[in-house]
Every structure is written in C-alpha cells, then in structure tokens.
Symmetry: C2
Subunit: 298 residues, 2 copies
Amino acid sequence: MNKYRLLTITVAAFSALAAPSFADALKDKKGASEILAASSAEDWVKPDPENTLYIELEGGKRVVVLLAPDLAKAHVAQVKALTRLGFYDGLSFYRVIDGFVAQGGDWTGKKPFGKPAKPSMKSEFDEAPPKDFAFHPLPDEDGYAPQVGFSKSLPVGFDPANNKVWHLHCTGAFAFGREDARDTAAAEFYVALQPQRYLDRNLSVFGRVILGMEHLHALRRVNPPSKEGDDIGEKIVAFRMAADVPEAGRTKLEILKSGTPTFDAYVESKRNRPEAFFYHRPDFVDICQLAVPVRAAP
Amino acid sequence: MNKYRLLTITVAAFSALAAPSFADALKDKKGASEILAASSAEDWVKPDPENTLYIELEGGKRVVVLLAPDLAKAHVAQVKALTRLGFYDGLSFYRVIDGFVAQGGDWTGKKPFGKPAKPSMKSEFDEAPPKDFAFHPLPDEDGYAPQVGFSKSLPVGFDPANNKVWHLHCTGAFAFGREDARDTAAAEFYVALQPQRYLDRNLSVFGRVILGMEHLHALRRVNPPSKEGDDIGEKIVAFRMAADVPEAGRTKLEILKSGTPTFDAYVESKRNRPEAFFYHRPDFVDICQLAVPVRAAP
C-alpha cells in the first residue's frame, strides 16, 4: 500500500522530533471547527424538502433523512409514495440489533399498500452513474471499493472499470431490506447504526440520516418478532416528507456541499488533525469517519 | 493495493455468472452463526474476574468491560485502584457525543483520589510488545496501521519496523482521556461509540466493552459541563471489579479465543459471507467489523 509507505517515512521523520514540531509542521492548517466557522454561505446547501424525510418518534423526537434520488430513483419514489399513503404511521422498529441496524416497517409483511407504491422493486445498488454524476473521489485507499468519494455530500463507491456507482453503508445509511432474491425490496427500511460496508452492493442505500441518530441509537434492542405477542419494538409515530409539513414545523438545516475547497479542507483536517492534542497522524481517513457537516440554517 | 486487484478479478469472474454460482463457489463454507454453533468448549475462554470491570448504571443496567493489562499495565492497575477506592461511584457520563464517545468520571477534576492510584500516568499507546505477545495478524490491508490483528481476542495494531503495538479504537474501546500533554491521563475514561481509529496511538486504550454497549448508546447526549448547574449527564451507580462481586451476582460470559482455527473461520465468514443473501463479496474485512464473539457461559 503505497500510501502507507509514505506515511511510515513521514511518521519516522516526525518521531525524531519533540511534540511541538508536529504543531510547527501543521501550523498553517486549520482544525475542522475552524474550517467550518470560516466557511461562507455558498459552502452550504439547504436540503430539498421534497427529498427530506422526517421519521417522527414518540416524545416529539424527529430523525431527519436526506434522500438521494440520483443513484436510486425508484427507491426514493417508493418511500415517498409509501410515506404519503401513510403506510409507516403507527408501525414500529421491530428489529434493532446493537452495533448493526435499526429496521422498521410492518414485521408481518401483510399490511397492504396500493398505488403508486410498487409491490417490489429492482435493486439499485449497482447502477451506471447518472449523466450529471458529480463524483469527488478521496485519494485514500479503501478495502471495500476500487474508489470512494462524495456525490452531493453523501459517501459513494465507484468502480470505474465497470462504470458502477453505489451509496455506502456508513453510519446513518438509509436503505430497504430484501429477501434472498435480489429484486424483492418493497417497504421494510433500515438505518445502519455503525458502518456496515460489507452490505454495499448488496442492498439499495438511498439516503442518510443527517440529524437525530441519537434517537435511533437509543431504541429498545429487539429481535425480529415471529408471532403475535412478540415484542415489536418502539413505535413509529409517522413518516412525513418535509415538503408536506407546514414551514413552521420543519427542521431548518444546511449541509456542507462536497466538491468545494471548504469540503476538501474539512476532509484534510480529519486526515491529519492539526490540533496540538495529536501525537500520531495517520495521513489517512476512512470515508465512514467523514460525517457530513450539518448546521442549523442561519 | 494488491489485495484489491485480486478482488477485482474475482468479482469480475463471478459477475459473468448467475447468482447461484456464488453459492456454489462457497458451498462448503459456513456462515458465522454456524461456525460458532459448531465450536468446541476449548474455543472459548472465561474472562478473568480480576480483569473484568462492571459499570453499573441506574435501572440495574450493567456494562461489562474486558481489561487488557498486557499492553497497558499501568492503566489497568489505575482503573482497578480507582474502582476499589470507590472513585467512580456516583459520578456521571458528562460528555456523550453522538457518533463519537461516551466519557465519564469527575467533570470538575477536583475529586481527590489517594494511593494506590496515581495522580497521572505515562502513556501506554505505543509500547514494545510484551514477551509473551501472541499476535494473530489479519491479511487485510489497513489504512491506519502497518498491520492489524488480534491479541487475546482484542484488536491491536502492530508496527514491525519500530516494534510498537497498541490497542485499536474500534466500537467499545475503553480508554482514558488526557490533556494536550502526553502523560496526563489519570481517571477520566471514555468508550468509543463507533470506530475512531484516528485516536489510535494518541490515547491509551486498555479494554473493550464486551456486553451492554446498548446502554451506552442510549445515554443522554450531553456536552462537557463548564460550570455548576450544567447538565452532567447520566449517573454511574458504581464501578466494580467482577472479582469483588459475589459469584451469584456476576455476569457469566465466555469470549471466543483468537488465534484458533475457529476464530480464523469466523473472520473468513465475515470477509466473504457465504450466505446466499449476498450478491457481492468484498474479499476484505475491516478489523473494526469483527466484534469479538461473546456468549453466555454454558
């Protein structure tokens, strides 16, 4: 791994020096919080309310999901249709496995849903890039994909040899489950509670939680029920598209745009943290370590 | 990355075939649950009660931490001394940052603790391997370390060129915080809520949560308090060494031994999952994806 050989030399060079030398070497570099504080209004974008999903939980808790139709158009259309049909309202998080996923929907698989939702969908985990695909690769090696990077602030994998692209299972990845057969996803959704990259290209990720992950981490752990009377987990009060919520009730957010000098500086600040606190710097960043910065809209 | 080139060929070869061929190619391989079900009693080890820490929370919730004195002897001695002095009893998780860490102890830094605990300790994040160091490397590339693998079932990094070894910041890593100066750790502890590998070789990890992570994920998120009256988070009822708890009150566990054929088979089942569910297999596993298997003692 060439990257690492370079690093070994760098670390060896640094190791001969006392701790303040790290700070010297990075003295013109800014930490992530400084970079974000110095950003301009143009560095941020307001998520489209038509592609922002609210998962409303009991106690007024809200989870905000940014949907990503570019790479998984049919899945986004499906969850929007189901949301607007009220399908998810009153259902539950019936499979919450620690360190893995929180899955919800209708555990019985019997609740009907009509048009425009579809009874099942073709997979969208291994697609040709859309025409306007703006991919900003990371230079860092990745064990799971030929290339990783960002598309519209979300982490994606890219296989240039086969011209395929897919969303990654980093923490907060929002996806549909399926049966063993590939094209069986319909309505059951899950959120990754931590990175689960081995699920990449096996299940269709089509969004990411950008606010409220702590509510999902706190859900009661529960195994999938198998019969009436089993624990079906905590209740989903409602799924709502932000566009359908009156303006005053919306969560006003902005996310950092990828593919900008500010975003690149943010990534670099995570690759080699300039703060004096650090004694070792890996010259490497795992893409799932790069949570998309989110802030309250000014 | 040689590994990945190999993978590309493998995936390309598979891609030409229909889905059942995956199952054919792996038909003699077992999934993780089958491997663990077929394991023998000798594949498992009971954690030493002298190196097992219970974090007791309100509502009778218990978090079990396996301490690892091999690579961080002074830190383990310190947390045991503080536990037996009752230092942590009644303190709180005062810094719980979503997707990062749950940190606890005495936010004021003023609570006294006497001998045998020390006022501060030398770092133990970059040590020469102990004489009886049994390291079982993973063949998989790692972006953060020259080599990664397992030592007594816990994930460690190894730098053969400089003969240094350290515990990794995977989910559940148990460590002490410090000030900017390297040798300032004393009593404030944290648990990684998800992988934080950039902290490797910067802070002394000396254990891992092996049961009860869900209680830490559910803790109230709270920023570090700065003055009296600020939210200091949820209460720590007590720290107890398992050895000091009457037999009947102990949590009876076993963990899978590393460096055995069963452990290797478990790792391989995560590298290329044989189950028919999977359409893509990465021929790669990130070490933090390998939670140490834990079971109730038979």
